[in-house]
Assembly symmetry: C2
Homo-oligomer: 345 residues x 2
Amino acid sequence: MPKARSSLTLSDVAREAKVSVTTASRALNGLAEKYRISPSTAQLVRESAEKLGFRPSQVARSLRLKRTGLLGIVVPDLSNAFFSSIARSVTVSAESDGFSAILADSGGEVEKEKDLIEQLLARSVEALVVCPVGQTFQHLESVHQQGLPLVVVDRCQAESEMIQVTSDHIAGTRQAIKLLLENGHRRIGVLQGLTGTLPCDERLQAVSDSLAAAGIRLDSSMVDGDRFTYESGYRSATNLLTRHSDISALFAMSTPNAFGAYQAAIELGLRVPEDLSLVCFDDVAYADFMQVPLTTVSQDVPELGRLAASLVAEQLANGNCPTQKLHRVPVTLHTRSSVGKMSPS
Amino acid sequence: MPKARSSLTLSDVAREAKVSVTTASRALNGLAEKYRISPSTAQLVRESAEKLGFRPSQVARSLRLKRTGLLGIVVPDLSNAFFSSIARSVTVSAESDGFSAILADSGGEVEKEKDLIEQLLARSVEALVVCPVGQTFQHLESVHQQGLPLVVVDRCQAESEMIQVTSDHIAGTRQAIKLLLENGHRRIGVLQGLTGTLPCDERLQAVSDSLAAAGIRLDSSMVDGDRFTYESGYRSATNLLTRHSDISALFAMSTPNAFGAYQAAIELGLRVPEDLSLVCFDDVAYADFMQVPLTTVSQDVPELGRLAASLVAEQLANGNCPTQKLHRVPVTLHTRSSVGKMSPS
DNA sequence: ATGAAAGCGCTAACAT
DNA sequence: ATGTTAGCGCTTTCAT
């Protein structure tokens, strides 16, 4: 298996096979028939390439063909299971289409995100999948207007011509609140995630609407939190439960939020679900093995990724933009034990 | 913010500024002083570039400079938190060094892994971080011999000149077994992960040695399993516990293995830790909120990634290979509740 | 202080 | 059926 420190070029192969670079190129690219290169010559070229351990330079190819076969993915935090799962779907799908994925981690900072996208464009990626930080979209719109295939995942922009994929936050929230209402809860607190993002805003609105439909007004003092983190959940739950001793249920916008709330509840001497019910968006690994298995609205994360990947592939193949702009992926309510019946008082 | 569909080239900028491409290139690359370009000209070039929204082609640059600023990362499963965490560390560190990371998912298949590495080499990545499937290393050795900076993470190759990073599996296992022995356990079963990989082999050997030091022989009938998965854990635990009713503790090589075992125990009517103790390698999110908080030997995954990244950076900077080949990252025993004292019988 | 021209490795007209 | 040659967009000698 001869594998010399490859700075071998096509002309090395051509020389070895005693043909021109053109012929070598054609033979190696499977264009032998098209250019009626004699089978023996083609074979000879292939053998020479093999023998020398020739590996065509994708860089040179990219420059010449103006196609890099590169796809960019930007996520706020690759160590977060939600985003790494999306990254995986997209990466794997890209690989199977002969693309390579450049992955970039914005660390949740908009400026970094802009920066990374610039870098990716400079590298001539042919498409972009972005899970934006979600509070500003101008730079993304601009990419889209330049005609580069772009798919936005999760933190969408409500009014936009961009192709976007996100969960059905409204339907999910409705199911969760419905469950709470059916169990007799009337005083329901909301643990918010990152405000100003579509998932957060839609969920909050849906809570408000669902409650309103049941004749309950969601007071803003019943809403707290500002991140999808454990800490935010802990803080906001502590605030809410301290402020309103009559809260009987909490709707958390993420699993970390819910665990923060759970911890807060314990510290306040509240039992789940006896004294406090808890529902949350997203899901945990091994939920069934938890002290109190959480009732969750779980997103179909792999499907978000798959859909994003296929929307990219479609644009790459057809060159045109899919007509449907905003894609919603259904969510599923997993009823476990963290929601209890409100004891009649 | 003018951002035309960038197929703008340097010569467009040069024309706009009424200078040669040479001067344009120099001005934009901060070589104005070196080539004594008049400040006004340099400024003019920069403004023209800005005005046109010029973005230099990294592809052309790469071809000319023979430096791509690309780094390849290959992992078996990006949706696995262990690997995504490593991918994150490496990606972030690469970004801060001005590199971009191409991420590839081998799906745990050696052939795919080989394939992906070939592709990455064809793309002229300047360095490679690989979490190999771990059962064959020839292709990696070959890359290393070609002189390309390469760091192998996690599933190392015992005898090798490659730069490798992995946890201190032996020390970790010893601590776990020591804890079990101190609690009076003598009949200890082992739930194996993927056999033939260094983490699995070293851990098994360390169990055997630790037991031997206490005068206990590890019979091969006390070892079962072949994957780091939940299913493997479930199956092997069921086998072991059925075969040997006197087993009082299980050492699991991964958290999924441990949860599989936990499920198996429940189904066999065994309580943890009263009837069966459980320790495992790796860690779970929210371990403290589990029904039975697991005692674990947890790896410092971010550190594995950071170390790998810095070893890559070192090679890239110095051009030479670090002298220390195999790097061990310490692990930590997290004592929680899944290990109980053996009741004197 | 600035430019002309060569060339990185490859593909594709355009010959022959 | 095969070869010559012109570039892709950039950097860099080598001139001036």
